[in-house]
């Protein structure tokens, strides 16, 4: 099975993150990496490919540095990479990103892919909508947020866990599937993986290569705009309840006051 995994290069969530002058995420002054939530999608693709026959292609849309996200996936074991790189993409929102991704996935798969895997959400935007948008653009069924996944008889089956219930979902292939961080334990690249990744093919495509009009993407075409932002105020000091034999009562009163019980 040939699997396309869409991944995102994101600013390191551990670092101090800031915005650029145009209110987009600052990508230059913060170290970037493969979104950790996408590692689960890469791992799942590798497991599927290893279990049968097939190839794993990693696709990303992003700035220069996004090549690092592809490299990490190749080091983990993916077979080849595609980097869509075009200055006009800067500032794109989710609909525009899904448009570019759709064309890139089609081109990478040479028509229709058998399976498209994605993470739960990016660790920077955390919108979680791109898998659904991509499925719509590709005209494929979507199953999102799976915590288990199985491929058999031309179908993908999996479990989606929510607070109240777990659904078992099924879709015919080809399909777009997003997975959660519960589905597997992503592997670390091995030393051999690092060495092998250097020889794996990575193609860089522009919007023109994909036949996407630059006017449909980028900051100017975004459906939403970040007008301003303020840093979240630091957390306030908590309240210390001294237990003088009535700690339980005081705790209950505190929770009741906050309408938590």
């Amino acid at each position: 099975m040939n699997i396309v995994v869409c991944v995102k290069y994101v600013p390191d969530a551990q670092a101090d993150r800031t915005f650029s002058q145009d209110n987009t995420t600052d990508r230059t002054n913060v170290d970037g990496l493969l979104s950790e939530l996408d590692e689960y999608a890469v791992e799942e693709a590798l497991k599927l490919a290893e279990a049968g026959e097939g190839e794993v292609t990693v696709v990303t849309v992003g700035p220069d540095g996004a090549a690092e996200a592809i490299k990490k996936a190749l080091q983990m074991g993916a077979d080849k990479g595609v980097h869509v790189l075009d200055d006009a993409i800067h500032g794109s929102d989710a609909p525009a990103t899904s448009l570019v991704l759709a064309e890139a996935v089609k081109k990478a798969a040479g028509g229709s892919p058998e399976l498209v895997l994605m993470g739960l959400a990016s660790t920077d935007g955390t919108m979680s909508v791109v898998p659904a948008m991509l499925a719509e653009r590709l005209g494929l069924p979507q199953i999102t947020q799976l915590s288990s996944l199985e491929i058999a008889d031309g179908k993908v089956t999996g479990r989606r866990d929510s607070d109240a219930a777990s659904d078992t979902l099924e879709a015919p292939l080809p399909a777009v599937v997003s997975v959660t961080d519960q589905i597997n334990e992503p592997r670390y690249p091995s030393f051999k993986g690092i060495m092998a990744a250097k020889k794996k093919p990575v193609e860089t495509w522009s919007l023109a290569d994909l036949g996407v009009d630059a006017g449909q993407v980028g900051l100017e075409s975004a459906w939403t705009k970040v007008e301003s932002f303020t840093a979240r105020p630091p957390r306030e000091q908590g309240e210390i309840v001294t237990d003088e034999g009535d700690g339980g009562t005081k705790l209950a009163e505190f929770l009741a006051k906050a309408k938590l019980i």
Binding site: Q75, Y188, P189, F191, K192, I194
Partner: protein, 393 residues
């Protein structure tokens, strides 16, 4: 001149990531409980850490050259998070795998190396004895050959990775006779774990390196087949000497990791800890010490990787043994003494907190001292360096 390549730095990031995710969260508890994390070893194996200097046929990386520098990077990065885990790798490769790889015959290599490289097993090397350290000629452990078997009697001290649940074999040096000049003939013999008469004594109660597995070993009429001789009879000590320089560079890398950890810890602490209404870093008494620490880290790192590079160049037959020996002793001496100073500075800057096990610098302080002792004390390094300068001894 040498420099670390982009590949080296990428590999460093990989090991750092692994160490921070798989080791760091558990270290305080493991250290407190003196727990050797057997489960971590195969994970290190999957990363390829035990196979960096091993050919592909045994599951290693099969690098044409440059493998030793990668190994030092891995030791440094594991050592930055915990020294015990760093020494587990260093000893696992340098003392466990290397002697078998270098001196083993085809059957011995095939029997032991694949599991050792994969991290499914660990091996130890027993040279030191209660009464014989760097003075290996004083070895008392004896092996006598009769009816196609070696019978070993004696004791070894401070043997790393010798008593873990996955230890597969310990190679020991023993007197196997007397040469024609009346000197002890010392040979290396492989003793598989579980051989009757071979006992790993209860783990030592150590000042530091609580997570590392270290035992005294006793051999009491321990019988192994003649074929367990590793390398040539009578060459056991010489064979060991050849691996000594590698070990010194590896310990130097371990020391770099420790100094680096101290630098990071005090830089953060001095910026956030306030006294008299200001971060303590505004006091030059503090910031100058941190500046000195940064110099130590940089100098240690340069000396270490220069030595590692020379070792890799020696493998490629572009450098001499004497150059590597001198560079290894210089790096080991400086880096380990710097690491001890670094932990002293770090605990001092942490003040009372530095004396509390709640903060990692207390563990760093305990872990540092052995660096000046193991793989040849600082005094032995000075002897080697002086000899290298041609000074009469």
């Amino acid at each position: 001149m040498f420099e670390l390549s982009k590949e080296h730095e990428e590999f460093r990031r990989l090991v750092r990531d692994f160490a921070e995710r798989e080791v760091a969260p558990h270290v305080a508890q493991w250290d407190r409980e003196h727990h050797f994390p057997t489960d971590l070893v195969p994970k290190m194996g999957e990363l390829g850490l035990f196979g960096l200097v091993v050919p592909e046929e045994y599951g290693g990386a099969g690098l044409a050259e440059g493998g030793f520098t990668y190994l030092c990077l891995a030791i440094e990065e594991l050592g930055r998070v915990d020294q015990s885990i760093g020494i587990t790798l260093s000893a696992g490769v340098g003392l466990g795998i290397n002697p078998i790889l270098t001196y083993g015959n085809a059957e011995q290599k095939q029997r032991f190396l694949p599991d050792l490289v994969a991290g499914r097993a660990l091996a130890g090397f027993g040279l030191t004895e209660p009464d014989a350290g760097s003075d290996a000629g004083a070895t008392r452990t004896k092996a006598t050959l009769a009816d196609g078997n070696w019978t070993i009697n004696g004791a070894k001290a401070f043997i790393t990775n010798s008593g873990t649940d996955i230890t597969s074999v310990v190679t020991v040096t023993a007197r196997t006779g007397t040469d024609d000049k009346g000197r002890a003939e010392i040979s290396a013999i492989m003793v598989p774990a579980g051989t009757p008469g071979f006992t790993a004594e209860p783990a030592y109660d150590k000042l530091g390196w609580h997570i590392s597995d270290t035992h005294g070993l006793t051999f009491s009429d321990c019988v192994v087949p003649e074929g367990n001789l590793l390398g040539e009879r009578g060459q056991g000590f010489k064979q060991f000497l050849k691996t000594l320089d590698d070990g010194r560079i590896a310990i130097s890398a371990l020391a770099v990791g420790l100094s680096q950890a101290c630098l990071e810890a005090v830089t953060e602490y001095a910026k956030t800890r306030t006294a008299f209404g200001k971060p303590i870093a505004v006091n030059q008494g503090v910031s100058f010490q941190i500046a000195d620490l940064a110099v130590m880290v940089e100098a240690s790192r340069q000396l270490t990787y220069k030595a590692a590079w020379l070792k890799d160049e020696l493998e490629a037959e572009r450098r001499s043994v004497a150059e590597v020996k001198q560079a290894a002793a210089i790096a080991k001496l400086y880096s380990t003494e710097a690491a001890v100073s670094a932990t002293r500075i770090a605990t001092q800057i942490f003040g009372g907190n530095g004396f509390m096990e709640e903060y990692p610098v207390a563990r760093f302080y305990r872990d540092a001292k052995i660096l000046e002792i193991g793989e040849g004390t600082s005094e032995v390094q000075r002897m080697v360096i002086a000899r290298g300068l041609g000074l009469p001894a």
